[in-house]
């Protein structure tokens, strides 16, 4: 998955994927994230969606699942830099207010700094 970047900063994990998030890729994304989250030291996950050109309901399911897993274990989950395609898809299913979204680099630095 050369389009996937995982970056650890302190106790935070920044996940960035560039391309389409569809049924074809969500299983691999979930597996890679699960592997990282076996380390209990990871207290926050940020998903950078700026490079996502298309996302379907499989991608929504991936984000909801990751959000639930993190929050149910007392950890934090954020979205960052939603691309227009992601913003539209999440808006259609009324989930823009459901996720915690980091508004800018300052907010990102507060989590990953």
């Amino acid at each position: 998955m050369e389009k996937l970047t995982l970056k650890r900063t302190g106790r935070s994990l920044l996940l960035k994927y560039v391309g389409e998030i569809t049924l074809e890729i969500t299983g691999d994304l979930k597996h890679r994230l699960d592997t990282e989250l076996t380390d209990a030291a990871v207290r926050a996950v940020v998903v950078d969606l700026s490079g996502v050109s298309f996302m379907d309901s499989s991608g929504i399911g991936f984000l909801v699942s990751a959000n639930t897993r993190m929050r149910s274990s007392g950890r934090s989950f954020y979205l960052y830099q939603l691309s227009p395609a992601v913003e539209k898809t999440l808006g259609l299913v009324q989930l823009l207010g459901f996720f915690a979204i980091l508004k800018d680099e300052c907010a990102l630095a507060a989590v990953c700094g």
């Binding site: 049924l23 298309f54 399911g61 009324q94």
Partner: protein, 149 residues
């Protein structure tokens, strides 16, 4: 496979696209239909709506029709230029059953949003069993300024 028929004095374009319901092939099938439509439609938002509708429909076949195994998948496209696009997403698997829903599930649900999205982005959406075929039918009206001249 493409043909043109006349209805209500207009030219209706009909074309059939086929693939096997593997996730990658299904996505490529959706893209192939959108690429074909991009020669007719100028509005990128409408093309993106149709892309999402098709991708959801084809992904539903991948997930549910053949118990996760590959099977036949077909998209039947109808176009009345300047007026509308119709899609039939067809499989020969187990069908939707009585619990099919077009509602948006709760925010913490990890799945079940495919048909809801397809309905949100279209003017008419219905599922049916026709003989051995399971059909998701979509009709989307598209304004006259959103077509290529």
């Amino acid at each position: 496979m493409a043909s043109e028929t006349r209805a209500r004095g207009q030219i209706v374009i009909q074309k059939i696209f086929r693939a096997i319901s593997h996730p990658g092939d299904s996505r490529r099938l959706a893209r192939a239909v959108v690429d074909y439509l991009s020669a007719l439609l100028s509005d990128t938002d409408v093309l993106q709506d149709l892309d999402l509708i098709l991708t959801e429909g084809c992904a539903n076949v991948c997930r549910h029709a053949y118990a996760g195994e590959p099977g036949d998948l077909e998209v039947r496209l109808g176009v009345e230029p300047g007026q509308w696009v119709e899609l039939e997403i067809v499989d020969w698997g187990k069908g939707f059953g009585p619990d099919v829903t077009f509602r948006n599930p709760g925010p913490e649900a990890e799945g079940g949003r495919g048909l809801y999205l397809m309905c949100r982005l279209s003017d008419s959406c219905r599922v049916s069993r026709q003989g051995q075929e399971n059909v998701v039918f979509i009709h989307k009206d598209i304004g006259p300024t959103q077509w290529k001249s």
